[in-house]
């Protein structure tokens, strides 16, 4: 891949549902605080007492590789940036038809003012200046991350390898030894 596709990484096991990512987004984007939000945190409960599991998931626009919103937009208001794959909305072209909202599996498109669509823009102005998206920067448990998808995938594979190796020999994990490149 020549041009990197940027994406969020999310570690389900580290998310505590604290919603710091949401309030960081409110602050970054001067959101009205009336419930409209570009990022959502959900509580997922499985089982019943006494065998229960509770997890939290934080989701915003995934800036999909093959983005259904881009495909369905009748006025080509949505596009993927060629340099980093971020899905952008051109407010001058948006007609507020909600087709994107219907197509999006993640509920990303928002219509806070009832007219054109707004959603997570990956804090593109920050990211192009070498800063992190506000949500990833603030995450107190480091559940949220971001970066080129290729690198995120590689990091994830590395972390999984460490877990497998350490299940055979816990001392390796304790020493911080994992499968690193020779």
């Amino acid at each position: 891949m020549n041009t990197p596709q940027l994406g969020f990484s999310f570690d389900l096991s580290r998310c505590s549902g604290c919603m710091a990512c949401m309030s960081a987004c409110f602050d970054q984007n001067d959101m009205p605080g009336n419930g409209s939000t570009f990022r959502h945190v959900s509580r997922i409960e499985t089982g019943t007492y006494p065998s229960v599991s509770i997890r939290y998931v934080s989701l915003a626009c995934m800036h999909c590789g093959d983005a259904p919103c881009v495909a369905v937009c009748p006025n080509r208001a949505l596009s993927k940036r060629p340099d980093n794959g971020i899905v952008e909305v051109n407010k001058d072209l948006c007609i507020g038809c909600h087709a994107c909202a219907t197509a999006c599996p993640f509920g990303a498109p928002q219509f806070p003012e009832g007219s054109f669509m707004r959603k997570c823009d990956f804090c593109v102005a920050r990211v192009t200046q070498g800063l992190e998206p506000a949500c990833a920067r603030t995450c107190p448990t480091k559940a949220l991350g971001f970066g080129p998808i290729e690198k995120l995938t590689e990091d994830k594979a590395k972390a999984a390898s460490v877990k497998i190796v350490s299940s055979f020999n816990p001392n390796l994990a304790a020493l911080g030894v994992g499968l690193t490149k020779p």
Binding site: S16, A20, S23, F26, D27, Q28, N29, D30, N34, V52
Partner: protein, 734 residues
């Protein structure tokens, strides 16, 4: 973004004062630099407790904060902020901020105030306080500090120099009982040394919502293989990471701890050397815990006996192991202090006291926060007059053990003393961040405040309590003042205001020192001013403000040596017997049971079966939520919108039995009172238990608790275990 869009985006936004509403330009993304004119200035967030206080990069444009972000220079918070910290702009620029000093016109119910100058306000306060001192003695004036805590050393010194023993704080319901429990057993005990530990016993604490920096450290340690035992009735974000979850019935911690001790002793897993050489009363303790077999404890706590045994073995045999408790979940019970003593006794029993990876003993550097090797003269500074030179404190007669260990009055006793006028009249009060909703039976406290001759409240916002005051003074936020802050990483910062104080607000310290000039002219040190007092306290650390001012982003002290381990081997323990006390000398002397005995909560299905017929559910209150810290962020849309309604967490089983569906309006009742809340069906709470966050202005759960539903030893309210019932509200009643 065009202006019309912005305007429509902000429809319904009532939080921020329009004067300070930032004109956002989405294309520039608030990137700091010459192009945007945004500059980064360093400060700290002080919305929550002093153990967090994350470092903040304030993005400032034309003297206005336009964005906040965690400061990467701060090694404690590492560039992160929580959901409250990110809402700082709505906090700073809130429309409810008090703009000028105010003096009340008309009676206390009128809520009518008129502006007054600072000089006139301070002169008026001084005149009234000095007159009352002359008429009834200095003890008739109470000095109180709520949240935040940063002004405490100065306020306490002002009180004592004035001659009043009645300096009291929000700590009368928070942390001090856990402190007492540890102090009675050991003299002192610090937090768990998680980074070096192999096993962490978390006893009813949820750092994910109360201290995110600590939580991050636990996750990192877990990934290195740390074993975790989680104790508590609720499922928290920590529970998913625990090897064992001991899901107790609220209020039964003591029985569980005694049973864990029973297993450890029966199986010979305790530290024989420690017990033999460094403890008092082990034989009585052993005899007492003998009755708490895992089977008996299962009946009391609801935790299966096999799990108790498994947890006891894991904690006692994994070395080193540390324990993490919290500020109040274990002590907000009518037997809370003794329960807590039973819990922390396990640390010594297993030989994990003051060892690497166990529970360390490190004295706080300043304002409760440790910074190993650095200790200020804060205690000496605060106590400018000896207790013997003042009248007895509020709570002296009722809570003698408190008064032996805690250098403050017990504020939970305050409304009773105002009402009775015994042992002497309480006539005036100077409160910083005072909130009557903190007291059990808050209406009793509210009525008591109304009985005072003269009430002064210093606050950032015009709160319901401020509305009762005779004089209201506007304080500023941490962004508008300078303060000293230590962190556990031997990092220290003297903050510089990142914006000027808004309207006519002033820093709490400035207010206290202005009052000191009028009230305590003989206190030479206070007359030298705020910064001179900071330098005086800093003296033993060799740090100076002059030096700290050169480091606006903070400073990591090099060469400070952390105290050694197992100091008791040389110095003994700071207890009357110089030993770790399974049987407390102080409790025996003050008329309580010296053993960490277990008693049921006064209102539990086992202790009050008659009450439980009508009120069969257990009510636990005040468990932390991530977006709130007590009452401090309810008024911010950014935090409030994350949980807008007063939700009662309720197990789906209990809800279905009562015909209650998600978000139905329900009535939550105790024998004392009832409030209208919405049901939130969740497995976070087990069947039989409902959990309600405290302090919702429109549904304050402390109305449901009797003012005297308290632990007799510590004076702490039994907020976390009582009896209640929940009924669905029919259409007409909503």
């Amino acid at each position: 973004m065009d202006r019309a869009t912005r305007k429509s985006l902000h429809q319904g936004d009532v939080t921020m004062h329009p004067e300070y509403e930032y004109r956002y330009d989405g294309h520039q993304g608030k990137v700091p630099g010459a192009q945007t004119g945004i500059e980064i200035r360093k400060t700290i967030c002080s919305i929550c407790n002093p153990l967090s206080h994350c470092g903040v990069d304030a993005y400032v444009k034309d003297g206005v904060v336009v964005k906040v972000e965690g400061s990467k220079e701060n090694p404690h918070s590492g560039g992160t902020l929580c959901s409250k910290g990110n809402a700082n702009r709505q906090y700073i620029y809130h429309k409810d901020r008090i703009r000028t000093p105010l003096v009340r016109k008309g009676d206390r119910e009128s809520g009518h105030f008129i502006p007054i100058s600072w000089n006139d306000a301070l002169d008026l306060i001084a005149k009234r306080f000095l007159k009352i001192k002359e008429e009834s003695g200095p003890e008739s004036v109470v000095f109180y500090a709520g949240f935040p805590k940063w002004m405490r050393p100065f306020l306490k010194r002002l009180a004592h120099s004035f001659g009043s023993p009645n300096y009291c704080t929000e700590s009368s319901t928070c942390f001090r009982a856990s402190f007492m429990g540890a102090a009675l057993n050991y003299g002192a005990m610090g937090p768990g040394d998680v980074a070096r530990s192999k096993c962490l016993l978390v006893w009813s604490s949820n750092p994910f919502y109360s201290n995110t920096n600590l939580a991050r450290g636990i996750l990192d340690a877990r990934e290195r293989g740390l074993k975790i035992i989680d104790v508590g009735p609720l499922i928290t974000p920590l529970t998913a990471h625990a090897d064992i979850h001991l899901r107790i019935r609220p209020g039964t911690s003591g029985a569980l701890a005694l049973s864990i001790a029973n297993v450890i002793i029966e199986e010979g897993l305790y530290d024989h050397d420690f017990v033999q050489n460094y403890t008092l009363g082990f034989e009585e303790y052993r005899e007492y815990v003998a009755q708490f077999t895992p089977g008996v404890a299962e009946e009391i706590t609801g935790v299966p006996a096999a799990k108790i045994i498994e947890a006891a073995r894991l904690y006692a045999t994994t070395k080193p192991a540390c324990m993490m408790t919290s500020a109040s979940p274990t002590t907000h019970h009518t037997n809370g202090l003794q329960n807590h003593r039973a819990i922390v006794a396990l640390v010594g029993l297993t030989g994990n006291y003051d060892v690497a990876g166990g529970n360390l003993v490190v004295p706080p550097a300043y304002l409760y926060q440790q910074s190993p090797g650095l200790v200020t003269r804060e205690p000496e500074f605060e106590q400018s007059r000896k207790w013997e030179q003042m009248a007895p404190r509020i709570g002296q007669a009722q809570h003698p053990a408190w008064c032996r260990l805690v250098p403050e009055a017990q504020a939970m006793q305050l409304p009773f003393d105002i009402q009775s006028g015994k042992p002497y009249p309480i006539r005036a009060m100077l409160g910083f961040g005072l909130n009557y909703r903190m007291w059990p039976g808050q209406d009793f406290m509210e009525a008591s405040l109304k009985k005072l001759d003269f009430l002064v409240d210093v606050d950032i916002f015009m709160t319901d309590t401020a509305k009762l005051a005779d004089v209201v003074l506007p304080a500023c936020t941490s962004f508008e003042r300078s303060e000293l802050k230590f962190y556990p990483q031997q990092y220290v910062i003297w903050t510089k205001p990142v914006i000027r104080p808004l309207w006519e607000s002033r820093s709490d310290a400035e207010i206290i020192f202005d009052l000191a000039r009028r009230l305590v002219p003989d206190d030479g040190l206070m007359q030298k001013g705020y910064e001179a007092c900071i330098d005086w306290m800093l003296e033993p650390t060799k740090l100076t403000l002059e030096e700290l001012k050169k480091h606006p982003a903070g400073y990591t002290v090099t060469g400070a040596k952390a105290p050694p381990f197992q100091k008791y081997k040389k110095n003994g323990f700071a207890t009357p017997s110089k030993k770790m006390e399974f049987t407390s000398t102080i409790l025996a002397e003050t008329g309580y049971d010296p053993l960490p005995i277990y008693k049921e909560p006064k209102l539990s299905p086992r202790s009050a079966p008659e009450v439980a017929k009508e009120f069969p559910l257990i009510l636990t209150t005040g468990s932390r939520l991530p977006m709130f810290i007590h009452s401090r962020t309810f008024r911010l849309d950014w935090t409030r919108s994350l949980r807008p309604d007063p939700l009662l967490d309720m197990n789906p089983k209990d809800a279905h039995e009562r015909g209650i569906a998600q978000e139905d309006w329900v009535r939550l009742s105790t024998p004392r009172n009832s409030i209208k809340v919405k049901a939130n069906l969740t497995e976070i709470v087990p069947p039989g238990v409902v959990s309600m966050y405290h302090d919702y202005p429109e549904a304050s759960v402390n109305l449901l608790v009797e003012p005297d539903y308290r632990d007799p030893i510590s004076g702490f309210p039994g907020f976390k275990s009582l009896l209640c019932e929940v009924k669905k509200l029919m259409e007409g009643n909503v």
